[in-house]
Structures are given as structure tokens and as C-alpha cells.
Amino acid sequence: MLTLKHLSKSYVAGTPVLTDVNLDIDARGITAIIGASGTGKSTLIRCINLLVEPTAGEILFEGADLARLSGKALRRARRHIGMVFQEYNLVERLSVMENLLSGRLGYVSAWRAWRRKFPPDDIRRAYELLDVVGLTGFANQRADALSGGQRQRVGIARAVMQEPTLLLADEPTSSLDPKTSVEIMELLTEVGRSRGIPVLVNMHDVELARRFADRIIGMGDGRIVFDGPAAALDDATLTTIYGGKGWLH
């Protein structure tokens, strides 16, 4: 599905944020990346769709090395990778429907998109997804009128609009309260499972990761220090990932 080989990234030469990351993501299931702040979780997830350009390594996805793509080829590859963001990254002054349809911008020409002439199928799918994420009737609301949880639901629906074969989520619950966080994670896993889309999600909430992920990847200092099923995550491994002991229990 997705294979990272020897992926490295330094924003400033000589101070690597990611060092030799090797990772295989299966065709199904929820994978959570956990780790302390500043260990490169976000950089890793952003390298996958080249929002951040890796310094070295390969990103093998659907038979191509994304790290070598640029221009139109890269845009075409990105269409198949949906992304959900911590700050939702909706276009605030556009309606919920327009935000959902913006997930189709990789497929629809700029001229048609500008005149809001999307194929009827896209509109139908958008209405379906609004039902799925529990925002029936919100189509014409402006995105800036929504609460945080509602915005993230729009964010998820927009990502799914792309008909992705892989979903990335960069700290999707970090700006939300605990109850909404659980609801958003439930939605994300449910969307991933029902549509057979593997989900790769960054989070710093260990409990949430344990509860929802099938597989957990622990990162420390730009490297993968743990990779295993959620059940295998014990105090000893948490200490390796985060360092120190005092914060446990």
C-alpha cells in the first residue's frame, strides 16, 4: 500500500528531524503514530503527500515513488491521499458544500470549479457524506459558523470526497475537547473501515491511540522506536517513546 524507505528530513542541514524511517502501511486498518512533541510525527505524515519535501528516501505509493514526482504527476498522486488537519484548514468564508467539493478540485478543471459546475455525482456524494458525518442540512452554512467538532467533520468529509486510497490525519483531535475527540476518532475509524481505506493518524493522546488503533508506531527523536499492535504497548515501551516515568499513572 504505502512503503517508506530510508526517509530522512532536515529543515536545517545537520539537524535531522527524521532519520532513516522505514515503514509499511497495510491496505487496511488504523495506524496511530505517537510520540512526544517535536519528534517528527507531523513532519513524517506531511512527507508522505509531499507537503514537506523529504531530504532523502523513497515514498512508494501505488507503484510510484512520490518523492520523485512533481507538477501534474504529483497532483494526480495527491488526489488519492486524503488529509485531515489539526486546525481543520477549511476555507472559512466558503459554505460547507463548497468545502466538501474542494476535495474534488484535483479532478475538476479550475474553470468548472470556479463556476461551481461540479459533476452531479460529486454533489450527490457530498450530500451522502454530510449524512455520514452527521451534518445533514448544513450544506449552505458557512464554515466559520461551525464549532470545532463540526469543522473537523467537514474536514473528514472533504478528505473522503477525494475517494482516497489512503487517509492521513495530522493530530485531528488536538484542538478538540475529550468527548468530541472520541467522536471524531470514532468517525474517522468508521469511515476508514467501512470504505476499506487505511488510516494513518498522528496523535499525542496515548489512551485514544490504544482505544482506536490496530497498530501503533512510537517515534522518538526522529526515529521509529516502537512498531506493534496496540496491545503490545506497555509502560516499558511508553518510557522508551516518551522518556521519564513520572508522567505514567
Partner: protein, 278 residues
């Protein structure tokens, strides 16, 4: 970084009661004092170089009264036959000039925005165009275009447009640079092409600023186009010029009142439209 600095700083601190807090460091105080000194010196130097002639200054109130009595009563009969058409022409010059400048300024503003065109040489060239547009006064632009196209409203319209490019382009470019990166990133991640990122990502974010700039510039241009006639570039300024040259003070009064009324109306229109658009 912060972790390393804190213990050392804590060790060097005197007891709480003896710590003195000052808003500015001695160097900052010196710098601020120097700035004040330069301002005072500049004012003193300018007053000297203006060379006020005391006699003229003394009889200024008398002159004002004299001028006003000669202007009043205004020659209202003059309004329908010449002033009205010139006034409408002035509004046309201002409006067309503003529209033209919007069309011309948008591409230059985009080229000047570093987040959209990440090439410093291109940004600098665009900024140079914007600065040169602004550094030339409307009247000078008008003189130039009167030279090229002859006297009339066309020269006035182009003068207004070319003077406005710098203003509109600069503010539009800055609004683009202040657009949030997040939504753009999301559209990039969805594989949206450049044009769609513009129309879905940037435009919704900058459109309030854009309309605000356009209205503000139109407001300014209504006032500026009123004087363009002084150099023959059409509009009410031409009527004002001929009245002034012939010392027809009551006619001058009508023109000035008309300009004042239009400026007030423009102000009201702009305020109302802005409230509805934004």
C-alpha cells in the same frame, strides 16, 4: 534553548525586592531620545526654510473674507449648462479609472506576493512597478497622457488608472501574503491545480480586503479626478480652471460646492456598500 538559559539567568538575578523593571533598555532610551531630537530639529529647520512673509500672513483673514464675498451668492444658473455634465464626466473618469486599475493591478499584486510567486527577483520587479506607479502624482500622469492622447476624459481615466495600480496592487499583494496557509495546504493536499488554489483558497480569504481596497480607491479617485481638469484631462476640473482664469468667483463657488457634494455622496455610498459586501 529556553531550558539552557533559565538556570543561568536565575542564578544571576538579585533578590526580588531589588529587581528593577524598566520598559526600555538604556540603548533603546537613547535611540528614542535621538528620534525625538531629530523630529524637533526637522520642524525647526522647515519653519525657517518656508520663509513666511509677515505682511501676507497678517492680511490673510481679510483676503479670505474678500474671496468669500466675491464668491457669494453662487451662480447656480451655471450648474445645468456646464457644471452638471462635467461632474458626470468626473464620476465616469473615477469609476472607469478604478475598474481599469483593478484589472491591471491584480496580476502585479499576485507577482508581488512572495507566498504565491516564491521568486524574489519577480517580487522585486513587481514591487518596482507598484512603487513607480505610486511615486508619480495623478496630475503628472495626466500631463503625460494629455501629451499622448490629447486633452479629454481618456487621458484623465488613464491617469487615474495608472496612479491607482500602485495603491491597489500593493494592498492586494499584502492581503495575499497575509492569507492563512492552512486552507491552501489542504487544497494542495487534495491535488488542486494552481488556478483552483487561487479561486478556492486565496480568493475567499482576500475578497473582503479586495472590495474594501477597490471602494476606498474609488472614493479617493472621485476626489482626484476633480482636479485632473486643471491640466486638461477632462472632468469638472476643466470648468473650475476656466472659471478661475476668468475670475468668475460665483462660478468657482458652484463648482466647489458640487465637488464637495459629490465627495460626501461618494463617502456615504462607500460606507453603505462596504457594510453590505463585507
Amino acid at each position: 534553548m529556553a531550558g539552557a538559559a533559565t538556570p543561568a539567568a536565575a542564578a544571576a538575578q538579585p533578590p526580588v525586592a531589588e529587581r528593577i523593571w524598566r520598559r526600555f533598555s538604556p540603548a533603546q532610551r537613547l535611540a528614542r531620545f535621538s528620534v525625538y531630537l531629530v523630529i524637533v530639529a526637522a520642524i525647526a529647520a522647515s519653519v525657517q526654510s518656508v520663509e513666511v512673509i509677515p505682511e501676507f500672513l497678517a492680511d490673510a483673514p481679510e483676503q479670505v473674507v474678500d474671496l468669500l464675498t466675491r464668491m457669494w451668492p453662487a451662480d447656480w444658473a451655471h450648474y445645468p449648462d456646464t457644471v452638471h455634465d462635467a461632474l458626470i464626466e468626473t464620476l465616469h473618469i473615477a469609476t472607469l479609472g478604478t475598474l481599469l486599475s483593478l484589472v491591471l493591478a491584480m496580476p502585479v499584486g499576485i507577482l508581488a506576493a512572495h507566498n504565491l510567486v516564491p521568486s524574489t527577483p519577480v517580487n522585486l520587479i513587481a514591487k518596482l512597478i507598484l512603487v513607480s506607479s505610486r511615486s508619480v502624482n495623478s496630475l503628472v500622469w495626466a500631463l503625460l497622457f494629455v501629451g499622448i492622447f490629447g486633452p479629454g476624459a481618456l487621458a484623465g481615466t488613464l491617469a487615474i488608472a495608472f496612479r491607482s495600480i500602485g495603491f491597489v496592487g500593493k494592498l492586494f499583494g499584502e492581503a495575499l501574503e497575509e492569507a492563512q496557509r492552512g486552507p491552501i495546504e489542504a487544497l494542495t493536499a487534495a491535488g488542486a491545480p494552481w488556478m483552483s488554489r487561487m479561486t478556492y483558497g486565496y480568493w475567499p480569504q482576500v475578497s473582503p480586503a479586495f472590495w474594501s481596497i477597490a471602494l476606498f480607491r474609488w472614493d479617493i479617485n472621485v476626489r482626484e479626478s476633480a482636479v485632473l481638469g486643471l491640466v486638461g484631462a477632462g472632468g469638472i476640473g476643466m470648468v473650475l480652471d476656466s472659471a478661475l482664469n476668468l475670475f468668475q468667483w460665483p462660478r468657482v463657488a458652484v463648482v466647489l460646492i458640487a465637488i464637495f457634494a459629490v465627495v460626501v455622496v461618494a463617502e456615504v455610498v462607500v460606507t453603505q456598500v462596504r457594510r453590505r459586501v463585507i
